[in-house]
Subunit: 346 residues, 3 copies
């Protein structure tokens, strides 16, 4: 059991769910079909007709039902079959599973656990993804690796020197700046302040920095699988470490991760910025740079997954940088165990 | 056990078995090599040399033997090894399995069960495939799905509206015409008469119908896996329902189905007609239309098979149209069970 | 257990291991990374970082270490981790397996068994691969079949008539010349002398033979998986059978075979000749002809492997030509069993 089921997961970017279309996604090993009803609200059903198992995603969306592509059975948003062509009565038990689903922060969120426990308040806070004054650039990567390997990766800044040596690896001195790791309720924070450095070229695109800057990298993991990085820089000694970012720029690097299966992952990423909102060049640089950088991680994580498949449970040696990854795995593992125990206890 | 072994199955169209060539086919999970002896008669042997297991289909056909492509051992039509290069004597036990095989109705038929029980009379009746006054157009589709899913599909006419909406789906009123289902010995018949409708365009190719027509769709399943559809139309009220088809045209749509494995199938299909025998355009329209239409089924059935692989034995909900498919599965299932019991009792 | 572990295996041709590069090879199911240290000596380590399992072959070679591509851990030739970035101390147990490795006869040899038992003297004798007066042409074929099927093939000359009918199959009379098979310690010799035949075209490239020749094919298998063929011809009746080859030419056909997995194989082959050393045309003819011929075997052996996967342990019928293959399998099988017993007793 590597999944927490009673939690919200991003099913897709809201713009990827088109009115009138079906979207098939496997989420925590469940085949799911997503569509929008006549009000435009997202619906998520089991992607399997209860009649002869054809995926409903091969069918078509009517006003407020999805119609199976084989024999035309129709299902509403609650999963109940409402029509069987050629007969007046719908047979008892004709229904498919319906999942709680919410559109928020420019994403469609799904709850694969017990529907009665779905609480909108439990969606991770990502307001910059749909707030005025912010603009986002991002995408979706399908990754052939366990989603936890990606969280390990994001909670560790030292890999940047090795994996990203062709993209974002910076001043080797940065790697020596200490990192602080802390538990914050059920979240983990990993933070690094680099004071009095030269601004990296990426930030120059945003705003000219003539002198030294203070830079920050503030990482937060929220269960089960969202990692946000609050990154930016400001003119040195203008108060950024104590909260005054007025002389600098900020960006949120968002990593919204959904297990597809035990060994494959939907990786949604986005940069949200609060400067040069309409500057297409900045958006393009971030879109291209983000994809290139995160694919460097994905290539390594997929090879790591392959190796894990071969070596099985062979022990690993831990080092100092594993502090945050090990903490996140402990918290998540405890919650998964508790969930399974409560299911077993019934 | 999803196969009835003591039965004839179509191995291939007769024209696909060329003199001097080997043809490898897996039939009911058995690897088989087919070839023709010097008299042109088809032979079917286990596709495995008894020496070191190389498929004999990689070898070559001599006058009346097949010669292994590795060390040159030769086998006759009865499966006995008749020559081992480099030694005078053939060692005891040097033989491969030989299957009863018959060429009939433009097909090569094989009997994968006990040879002593092979009875030519048990080949399904398909005389229109090689009788004077008839001409056929057809082909072979390799399908990645259980052969029984295809029989389900052919015994149910309601899917036409949904699967074939881009090809043969017709007047929505047709779907309302009642269907009769009946058991006829070990066969199943599903029949529909549509009286006083407009002739569909396909029939106009054959013969101009100015007024209304009476149409028929008479489906018959014969164990284990042949489905024929007697389809056609005649001028309305000229006696077609009672047997006089002189004012109309007929066509047989033949579906001769051979399990390759539990989840893959050789799908042989052909349209046989008794009109415009030499009209190449009609033949082309039927060949193209048939392939396009049946591939629409195959695409759906393959996705259904994938879904079945995922959900396993999860229960299904049955509806009215499942009457004929459920009857065929009961008859076939009983015969398979009886065969296995008799083997066990053996 | 189909492998003898306490033995030398060719990991690669020496020229395929480039300074500064990593080379990943699976050998007897072990993932191995090969590289050269600053002195140019080959190193073979387990291809897995002890930290988080990423293959080390994705990293890079420094002076005398290999550096992991994820977090920068560095390992020396003995497999010990010598550096963990960001911390002063290397944690206990941070090491990967190191394999004995030797460069000899233009190949890099690896010992997958107990390191303490690795004895350079046990490398098969192949001096013509790097001796003055000899020149070699060869390559590497990746084969999807059990390495023992290839040894079977090489110890049997009768297959030439059937598998190589388009390349090297010669005078059908040759196939009638008797073959002698003998055990020589732990080696097997299969020998054939063809006296008073016409020289085959391939030898004419080397030296014009006007009259009849005496030809020889002297095959030797050395455990675990090296097969050499001493082949050539000389003017008839000039004493070749008793050792005087001065009136002829010789070539060694070398087959140096390394199991990759139970069902896949690294097939290294080379022709070594002691004539026309600088003749590029002769080298090209041999390179092209060798590859074409040996691929004919590989195609058949891969199909044989597929068939074995299907039929499992179904019995085979043995014939006379199986004498040498059966002897080699007995000797090798006994040594593998002894090795496993000694491990079990250990």
């Amino acid at each position: 059991m590597t999944f927490l089921r009673n939690a919200w997961y991003a099913a897709c970017w809201a713009t990827d769910l088109l009115p009138g279309e079906t979207l098939a996604k496997t989420i925590l090993c469940d085949p799911v079909v997503l569509w929008r009803d006549s009000a435009g609200d997202p619906v998520a059903l089991e992607d399997r007709c209860c009649h002869r198992h054809l995926p409903l995603s091969l069918g078509r969306v009517t006003e407020d039902t999805i119609q199976c592509g084989y024999h035309g059975l129709e299902f509403g948003a609650d999963g109940d079959c409402v029509k069987v062509p050629g007969q007046g009565k719908v047979p008892p038990g004709a229904q498919v599973r319906s999942y709680p689903v919410i559109e928020k922060y420019s994403m469609v969120w799904i709850w694969p656990g017990e529907a009665s426990r779905a609480d909108e308040g439990a969606i991770p806070e990502l307001p910059w993804l749909d707030s005025p004054g912010w603009v986002s650039t991002g995408g979706h990567i399908h990754m052939k690796a366990d989603y936890r390997l990606l969280i390990d990766n994001l909670l560790d800044l030292t890999h940047v020197t090795y994996i990203h040596k062709n993209t974002i690896a910076g001043d080797p001195q940065e790697a020596l700046v200490p990192v602080s790791t802390a538990r914050d309720g059920d979240a983990i924070r990993v933070e690094r302040w680099m004071l009095g450095f030269t601004a990296p070229p990426m930030y120059d695109l945003a705003r000219k920095f003539d002198g030294k800057v203070d830079r920050w990298q503030l990482i937060k993991w929220q269960a089960p699988s969202t990692v946000t990085l609050d990154i930016g820089c400001a003119d040195a000694d203008t108060g950024a470490p104590s909260g005054d970012r007025s002389q600098g720029i900020s960006m949120w690097s968002n990593h919204i991760i959904t297990p597809e299966t035990e060994t494959t992952t939907h990786y949604h990423w986005a940069f949200a910025r609060n400067y040069k909102l309409d500057d297409v060049e900045v958006s393009e640089v971030l879109a291209k740079g983000g994809l290139q950088t995160f694919m460097e991680d994905v290539v390594v994580l997929e090879r790591q997954q392959e190796a894990l498949g071969t070596v099985g449970d062979r022990p690993v040696v831990d080092i100092n940088i594993d502090n945050a990854p090990m903490q996140f795995r402990r918290i998540l593992g405890d919650r998964i165990a508790a969930e399974n125990n409560s299911v077993a206890a019934g």
